[in-house]
Symmetry: C2
Subunit: 345 residues, 2 copies
DNA sequence: CTGTTAGCGCGTTCAA
DNA sequence: TTGAACGCGCTAACAG
């Protein structure tokens, strides 16, 4: 790979001049500029982003660290992030930490040691994260999505997870169910706790005692959910409804139910969470909690870029609301004709 | 952010010595080492990966460029890539080019200008890609997945797409179908052409004339497929079977069919491609073409790392086979009891 | 065992 | 309009 000196030599100018045409400065004689351009072309020269970043202390890149890059929940969020980032001239690099706090920490160090101008983190685990505090104190641009840390003054986009869990559970209770189970997400994921809290809130409001045998933790995947779903559906007093903390797990529940000879929604009502694209399109179409994912992604990217380009900016906090989307997996729409009173959500 | 000189000053040694303890060299007095370590800790010093990469001409990072990071097809591949890369001490950065050749080109330039040691590319578009030729000629480590370019001597992992298309179509023909439609993928994706060729091959073999009205192009997404699927299912002599070039589009077909009052598999047989995780788990379970995705991903990463660490290596070519997974979306298993002769695949 | 010197590839003064 | 000199933060070669 040729470097800027090779070009300078070939064009018979100084490296400084090459640098000037590279960066589109005006004060270069048109003739020399052409000479330089030609040299660049014949040498097939490409400036080193590395060296450039080193001297400018700027990479024009943002890093996105997420819990699991294969989770469809992130798909629309990522689109939002990309659209905004590209518009502002930033590239994006992703890192997938696969719910491993150690791997997450590694990636944070990896990326912030000069590789990116700022970090967007989403899909978090609960744990010791003093290093995030340090980052914030040092002024490293950071945006967290769905991740509240006490006394941490940084940009935060939160989604009303408790509200979502509440909506989902209330819907099931409103349909007359009393034995409502909950399949929670990753035990050390913050959203799991919040959605569970919403579930409990709805139960309490309806006067249904909380029974911890009705709650199982899973891992946000369909495959991982099938066995635990089978277990919870095999107890003597089996639940008649399940609220799953994401759509993938909801399909795990549905699949498990089918293997046990139960039909959804006839024998079991199921509500999911996330409203992934497929939720509307497969059978049964899933009743689920919708989140404005594209908006979350674009807002997150915008916030991060603002902080990168304006270090003085005060941290912002945005809360996004969720909504219930009623489809067919809990029988509400089917019953609409004759049992409207069941549907109160 | 403190730098290595700050540490050196604090520990009252030279920068070189700091560098030595940083890189775990043995020839450092234990006492000085401790002094340095302490200085590092109190200053909260973190070495700049940027500067280090600049001097070592090595980033310990591989870049992965893919067509659409939100496509579940990539999920297991990515897991394979990550497992291998981490084992060898490499980080990974992803870029999603969203089927935009220009964006792809941009990301290639972006990443190879010193940001990564090698590039893994998958999910390709057909187009002018002389820049890939240049990369290969310059010896830049490169692995292509499912992307054949004439006379390009680089590492290639190919999957037998034509064979997969053939398997899928033959299965439908073997079940007695004669009006078999095909929903192809992105028009400028290479895999689309190959799977289409397999479709035609099977038709020809069965003596069924090729009818181009039976082929529509879509974009590998469920949403994008619903309208075109509706169109192809609304012709007077409507198809009784559809081979879709990926599973997401197969679900688009199924959804469209349902909206038209057709039941799958009773009124329409559908075969997908990819065998994404959800394919086995939603209703109807999808008959589809399986590809060894985890193996593809791990092999791709391994090959790339080999080339990075051993520049003399000869390019390797690996071809992976596909297989047909029979589930319920084309009625084969349902008929097994009484019409076994239909099933020849 | 430790320090000095040189250089990775570039951008940015400041003079000329 | 151009170039020399310096520095970004780090590692490597060579002395001592």
């Amino acid at each position: 790979m040729p470097n800027i000196s090779d070009v300078a030599r070939k064009a018979k100018v100084s490296r400084t001049t090459v640098s000037r045409v590279l960066n589109g400065k005006e004060d270069v004689n048109e003739e020399t500029r052409q000479r330089v351009l030609e040299a660049i072309k014949t040498l097939n020269y490409r400036p080193s982003a590395l060296a450039r970043s080193l001297v400018k202390q700027k990479t024009d890149t943002i890093g996105v660290i997420l819990s699991d890059i294969t989770d469809p929940f992130f798909s629309r969020i990522i689109q939002g992030v990309e659209d905004v980032a590209h518009k502002f001239g930033y590239g994006i690099v992703y890192a997938s930490m696969r719910w491993d706090p150690q791997l997450k920490h590694n990636y944070v160090s990896f990326l912030r040691s000069g590789r990116v101008d700022g970090l967007l983190m989403m899909g978090h685990t609960v744990g010791n994260e003093d290093y995030l505090r340090e980052m914030v104190e040092e002024g490293f641009p950071l945006v967290l999505v769905e991740y509240h840390i006490d006394n941490l003054k940084t940009n935060l986009l939160s989604i009303d997870n408790q509200g979502g869990g509440y909506l989902a559970t209330r819907h099931l209770l409103g349909l007359g169910h009393r034995r409502v189970a909950h399949v929670a997400g990753h035990k050390n994921a913050q959203v799991s706790q919040e959605r569970l809290a919403g579930y409990r809130q709805a139960l309490e409001e309806a006067g249904v005692p909380y029974n911890e045998d009705m709650v199982v933790y899973s891992n946000f995947t369909t495959e991982g959910t099938i066995p635990v779903a089978k277990k919870i559906l095999s107890v003597p007093e089996r639940p008649t409804a399940v609220f799953a903390a994401n759509d993938l797990m909801a399909y795990g529940v549905i699949h498990a139910a089918r293997e046990l000879g139960l039909q959804v929604p006839r024998d079991l009502a199921v509500v999911g969470y996330d409203d992934i694209e497929l939720a509307a399109l497969v059978t049964p179409p899933l009743t689920t909690i919708h989140q404005p994912r594209y908006e979350i992604g674009s807002m997150a990217a915008w916030t991060l870029i603002q902080q990168i380009e304006n270090k003085e900016m005060q941290p912002t906090v945005n809360e996004f609301k969720t909504s219930l989307v009623i489809r067919e997996s809990c029988g509400a729409t089917l019953r609409r004709g004759n049992q409207v009173h069941f549907e109160i959500s």
